[in-house]
Symmetry: C2
Subunit: 340 residues, 2 copies
Amino acid sequence: MNLKELSRQLGLSQTTVSRALNGYPEVNETTRDRVRQAADQFGYRPNARAKGLATGQSMAIGHVITNSTSHEMVNPIFGDFISGAGEIYAKQGYDMVLSIVRDRDEEQAYRELKAKGAVDGIILHGPCNDEPRIGLLKSIGMPFLVHGRASNETGDYAWVDVNNRQAFFRATAFLLDLGHKRIALVNGLEAMDFAHRRREGFEAALADRGLVADPALMRTGEMTEVYGYTSVNDLLDQDAPPTAFLVSSMISALGVRRAIEERGLKMGRDISVITHDDDLSYLRNGGDVPIFTATRSSVRLAGQRAAIRLLKMIGRPDVPFKHELLEAELMVGQSTGPAP
Amino acid sequence: MNLKELSRQLGLSQTTVSRALNGYPEVNETTRDRVRQAADQFGYRPNARAKGLATGQSMAIGHVITNSTSHEMVNPIFGDFISGAGEIYAKQGYDMVLSIVRDRDEEQAYRELKAKGAVDGIILHGPCNDEPRIGLLKSIGMPFLVHGRASNETGDYAWVDVNNRQAFFRATAFLLDLGHKRIALVNGLEAMDFAHRRREGFEAALADRGLVADPALMRTGEMTEVYGYTSVNDLLDQDAPPTAFLVSSMISALGVRRAIEERGLKMGRDISVITHDDDLSYLRNGGDVPIFTATRSSVRLAGQRAAIRLLKMIGRPDVPFKHELLEAELMVGQSTGPAP
DNA sequence: TTGAAAGCGCTACCAC
DNA sequence: GTGGTAGCGCTTTCAA
């Protein structure tokens, strides 16, 4: 069923039917009701491509996530973020188009998305400290919002992030309070902004007590299960092994715990482990407030906020936003000059 | 830059330029080269909406994933599957549109995708034993492929799955070989087909040795971290607690391990744990062949296969497919009658 | 308050 | 081998 047919059924012009359905004020309310009812009955939906062609909008938002050649797995955190964003898009009648591209094809992917007119805006995932994509998106005139921040970017851009620095500061402080002296950091790739911030939080907490981070206790790498496993084994084989671990991702944490178990060490007695995106920290704290971590739930919330902001940027009406728990962990900002 | 401009620059008609770019044979090769070069130079990309409107194709595949109201997190396995599929789409010039819908809105979502003409085909995720969506998609004439299977579906449909039953059969058999008598199954929701199959594999391995599964040792639920945590605590508080756990998801496994750790039990001595989608099983087995599990890597492979098959179904040319490890874990099929 | 018609950017048919 | 043009389904002037 298309507009032509529908309007013929109704004995009206396409113009009137279109106007009725799109809420234009000049349509007689009686007519509008008739049209709406018929549209409902026939299950009429405007063809997205035709509508897009006529309006110049695609009613879609792109999410581009990179997939390095060395490590093809997708960080589960993207799933949570995207789930939050998707909910908002659905409510607003937007589609989400997901591009999964090799890092070397990334610039090309953005240009194509723009030239093809496939999306009205983009969410940029996984920013590095130096983030060339920000300049690129600006130069091609594609509205965008960054999931995370780019520390070395001096220009102006919108972002939504979880508070990585504070989370790692608090987690480290907690371990220090427990009496740990040798704390290991099993971090993500520190060229990535989030990992960089986590490290800063870690170091700041140590500095607060007059301590200096020991490079021998810090690992950085793609956050796979295998990486967690081998990191722990390396770290524990050292002369002065750590007594606690701060782990950047629940996937690595699987490997971390496995390695610890295999050595017959007992958590909480021989060794402490805190994982960044770990929903159990709620459970142990009465179920409402996060202790140290930016959990999966707060990432989902970040996705919602990001979607709302981007839709606003491209001129969509306000979406009512329900404030939930965890908001405190979330940061929303507009950066001019180096990211805060 | 659009076709009109480009053709004017070249002093050719839109027709010729279009034909040159789309590989039609009747174009002079010299002309074609000129056109290609100019298109390259100006960064010309045909507008996707206009092209779609003219051809009736959207050059996009939809992935619909449901998001139950109780449990908003996205299973990381979707990310891996989607990453594999996305790679294929990109190569073939297809976009992926991702719909995240509440279960009760699902039928509506499919109808809309069809009516709007947003996608040329759909990947159906997370099928239940009784899967009404299969009938729905057939009735609205939307090409689709199922990621998984629907045991109670008697009609004909294409699917790609990992071998859940065999994986759980082998894992159970292994635990029995180790001498375990009381093995717990921490499974997903058994209305879901994958969980149903996993349970069947579990029970079949027991039956093979003349044993019967003890209902008191089986748990079923949404695979969250908290679920794993509470399940283990419940199970271990019983009079005759299990000595081994078979866990359906690495997310639940995080909770499972945490609970075990907290009780001061030692893995491998007091208790054994096998997790379904656990990439470390490679590491321990020389890095090439999966022991028991359908790992994240094989799920990624499944995504590739699914994309290829669906594209074929909607009449796209063959994609060269590189056979990799793990293929043995993968099942590809066309079901007529109850799923095998 | 309604309708006719142009036009969004492309493909594909038909003529040359 | 190349070009003119109708038409995909919608929105949006402009006219009535």
